[in-house]
């Protein structure tokens, strides 16, 4: 998918052609109806492309948001004589509010809970639509819904809908490449890593959910205008499933897929009209189709087909300026300071009153045998766990209760023991996510500055020439390097490396060692947690040793490693 200017021009051209065709080519009522349904549904399915495709969150109430838009237009124009456009906007706003409300209640819980809440909401809405007769007209539905002035003919309205479809498709398409879009994709691919790189997971999910609801409402409002008659049975749970299937069939992550899925699932039943002759047969086949798609084509038709179009990654632009690392210095003596840190899991004291002072510049190591509490400590310092007691200061700023995604602002960056990269993105995109964290002074120049910096970071770790390749095409060792580049792009003050040598062979470890040296030379403070003593001894000047959740040694590496109680911690007590 080309995101260049050429691509956008082509899109605009194609859209213009399609809109013109829709507005002028005369079709009989039946075909016009099909097109109208496909177009309005597709807008709603675009909403699913955002929340499910981009952000990975389940939404089983899209038909409910569709209904909110439809009923706003229907009741607003017919019962209250409010102009069409106003009703449409109101419908979108109501859908947005509902989506946001639902999201606020359950997005923190995610997964199954979200599925259940969305289903429940859908069911409640259906009950209300059917039973609040005085307000909603009940099962009779609302008829004679007017169209806005200038678009009263079926043809013109269809042209309008297709135009709006093209516009919303464009927005969804472009969304993937914005900062918000990248945040959504990061949340979908790896929540923990997204959080560690400055992304507010909850807010991102909420926005995705709200946008989906908004588009659902838009589609529904246009649907009401298009068909002039709506009734509750058009917006039931089964319809949410139909919308979901359209998204899945076409390919969840892209508007092109959404359009394909919608088109197919509206056209196919028309070609297979005999299926509709037996009530239930059509939907039964639907059900099987959903299972088969999930089993065999998880990326949908477009996902499958676009793999053939992908071809070779475009060669990246030439390397620009070298990577600049300007760690901030508030004047506090320690880059990272931890005082009396405790983390208890029930009765288990994983970390029991540990102090840690990491001096500015150079590398400091945190070591200890298995079960000593190192990993827990790292997770508390980076915010994944809440400390039971104690204080954490990054560059003099207290971050003890700051959520993980905000610790990047204080200057903390980390890599993970079992590499957490965003696997559906390219190496460069991964690094850009790191670079665009809040408060990164070195990317103030806007879009270009951001991408130049990311490129420079990749170049710094030696992978600049492969910037546009997707993560799965890199070896494990190289993925490790990309993760480090992502952290560096954020211009951190303290870089926390969690077992960076794990899984690397000897050559890769040597390259890592050299890289660490180059990073330290730029004045960055590094905290390494690892078991590979050769690496530690070579790279870190200071080391802190933990055992049983407590600090048992701290000082210059060579001296500490000679201490008998350190040897004892690892090898066992010598008599």
């Amino acid at each position: 998918m080309s995101r260049s200017v050429t691509g956008q021009l082509l899109y605009a051209l194609a859209a213009a052609v399609v809109v013109a065709l829709a507005a002028t080519v005369k079709t009989d009522g039946y075909v016009a109806n099909i097109l109208m349904q496909a177009a309005t549904y597709a807008i709603a399915v675009f909403g699913l492309s955002i929340v499910l495709g981009l952000c990975g969150q389940i939404n089983l109430a899209q038909a409910a948001f569709f209904a909110l838009g439809a009923y706003s237009v229907a009741l607003g124009t017919v019962d209250y004589h409010v102009p069409f456009w106003l009703c449409l906007v109101a419908g979108m706003a109501i859908a947005l509010a509902a989506g946001a409300g639902l999201g606020l209640t359950t997005l923190r819980l995610g997964g199954h809970y979200l599925a259940m809440v969305t289903i429940s909401f859908q069911q409640i809405l259906t009950v209300v639509l059917i039973n609040a007769i005085r307000f909603t007209h009940g099962p009779d539905g609302v008829s004679s819904i007017p169209r806005p002035a200038g678009f009263t003919s079926g043809q013109a309205f269809l042209g309008l809908v297709v135009a709006i479809l093209a516009a919303s498709g464009y927005l969804v398409w472009r969304l993937a490449d914005t900062r918000l879009g990248r945040a959504m994709r990061a949340v979908r691919d790896n929540e923990l890593a997204a959080s560690a790189n400055g992304i507010d997971i909850f807010r991102t999910k909420l926005i995705a959910f709200a946008l989906a609801a908004l588009l659902g409402g838009l589609g529904g409002g246009l649907f009401a205008g298009g068909f002039s008659y709506i009734s509750p049975d058009q917006f039931a749970f089964a319809d949410s499933i139909v919308l979901l299937t359209m998204a899945l069939l076409g390919g969840v992550a892209s508007p092109v897929g959404a359009a394909i899925g919608t088109g197919l699932l509206i056209l196919i039943p028309e070609w297979l009209r005999f299926l509709k002759s037996v009530p239930g047969l059509y939907l039964a086949v639907y059900g099987v189709a959903v299972i088969l798609i999930v089993l065999f084509m998880p990326d949908g038709i477009w996902g499958y087909v676009s793999k053939f179009f992908r071809g070779r990654a475009p060669a990246p632009s030439k390397a620009g300026e070298p990577l600049v690392l300007k760690p901030s210095n508030s004047g506090a003596p320690m880059a990272l300071e931890v005082k009396g840190l405790c983390k208890h899991f029930g009765g288990l004291k994983a970390v029991d009153g540990v102090d840690l002072q990491v001096r500015r510049g150079g590398a400091h190591a945190l070591i200890g045998p298995n079960g000593s509490g190192k990993t827990t400590m790292v997770n508390v310092v980076t915010g994944l766990y809440r400390a039971t007691a104690g204080e954490i200061f990054v560059d003099g700023v207290e971050v003890t209760t700051v959520p993980p995604h905000k610790r990047t602002v204080a200057g903390l960056a980390r890599t993970f023991q079992n590499i957490r990269l965003f696997r559906t993105m390219t190496a460069l995109e991964n690094v850009v996510v790191g670079a665009e964290r809040d408060g990164n002074m070195l990317v103030e120049g806007g879009h270009d500055a951001l991408w130049r910096r990311a490129r420079a970071a990749l170049e710094f770790v030696g992978l600049g020439h492969r910037a546009n390749e997707l993560i799965p095409s890199f070896s494990y060792g190289h993925q490790r390097l990309i993760e480090i580049a992502r952290a560096l792009a954020a211009n951190p003050t303290v870089l926390l490396l969690d077992e960076p040598a794990a899984g690397l062979n000897l050559t890769e470890k040597k390259a890592l060692h050299d890289l660490l040296g180059r990073i330290a030379a730029q004045g960055l403070t590094i905290l390494i947690i690892d078991h590979d003593m050769t690496l530690i001894a070579g790279a870190a000047r200071h080391v802190t040793v933990l055992n049983f959740g407590r600090r048992i040694a701290d000082g210059e590496t060579a001296e500490v490693l000679r201490q008998p109680d350190v040897a004892a911690a690892y090898l066992g007590v010598a008599e």
Binding site: N370, Y476, G503, D532, T534, L561
Partner: protein, 242 residues
């Protein structure tokens, strides 16, 4: 006689090669310690033997029979029990129930199994008072005993013990290693994976040291312990000494 023979064993997790060409043998009736620092491949070795992971190359012969790639169920039926790292006691079941499930590799009646479980409490008197307590209420050391008892219920000829001392206070560790000695006395062969080299070598008849997926050292405990290279395997090479 040789009970277990591992030849040129290689195991990969996706791209990462965790074990490369490891070969060693275990004699019947022995306690063999498999040592090495974290990430050396010790747990991977046990998982390959018990069938949780399939080797990418090499062979494993148990009592002359090839077992590499068999399912864990088949392997435990042949007489190899694996007590994994972290004990993994079923938290919602009582101690007695956990132990009784250790006999799941056979077809004995519930009554027989219950009797055998009671016999276990004689071997591990410290956990007898907790027989009907839920798994999650016990301390680390107690859980380790339950895990070992559960493993023994399978009546294994070879017991694979993965880091029994993990997270235990030194005095509790002593008790665990004494149990290892007792198990040996009763005729079970033990392959003991440990980070705590000193204690493991005190109870073992033979030792091997893994370093980043390869076998670095092997020998009897005294020789191994006084070998400088064992320190290097854990605490780094020449650079560390500088």
């Amino acid at each position: 006689m040789t009970l277990l023979e591992v030849k040129d064993l290689s195991v990969s997790y996706g791209e990462i090669e965790a074990l490369r060409g490891v070969s060693f043998t275990i004699d019947q009736g022995a306690v063999v310690a498999l040592l090495g620092s974290n990430g050396a491949g010790k747990s991977t070795t046990l998982r390959a033997i018990s069938g949780l992971v399939a080797p990418s190359a090499g062979s494993i012969l148990f009592d002359g029979k090839p077992i590499a790639g068999l399912s864990p169920r088949a392997i435990v039926k042949l007489g190899v029990a694996h007590v994994p790292e972290g004990r993994r006691i079923f938290p919602g079941l009582t101690v007695r129930e956990n132990i009784m499930l250790g006999a799941s590799n056979g077809n004995a009646s519930v009554g027989t199994i219950r009797q055998e479980a009671d016999a276990m409490f004689d071997l591990f008197p410290a956990i007898k008072p907790f027989a009907d307590a839920l798994g999650w209420t016990l301390s680390g050391g107690q859980l380790q005993m339950v895990a070992v008892a559960r493993g023994l219920m399978a009546k294994p000829r070879l017991l694979l013990l993965d880091e029994p001392s993990l997270g235990l206070a030194p005095i509790v560790m002593q008790a665990v290693f004494q149990i290892v000695a007792e198990i040996q006395r009763r005729g079970t062969t033990v392959l003991l994976v440990e980070q705590n080299a000193h204690m493991a070598l005190k109870v073992a008849n033979w030792g091997y040291v893994l370093e980043t997926g390869r076998l670095a050292l092997g020998g009897d405990p005294t020789t191994l312990w006084s070998d400088e290279r064992i320190r290097d395997a854990y605490l780094g090479g020449e650079q560390a000494k500088a």
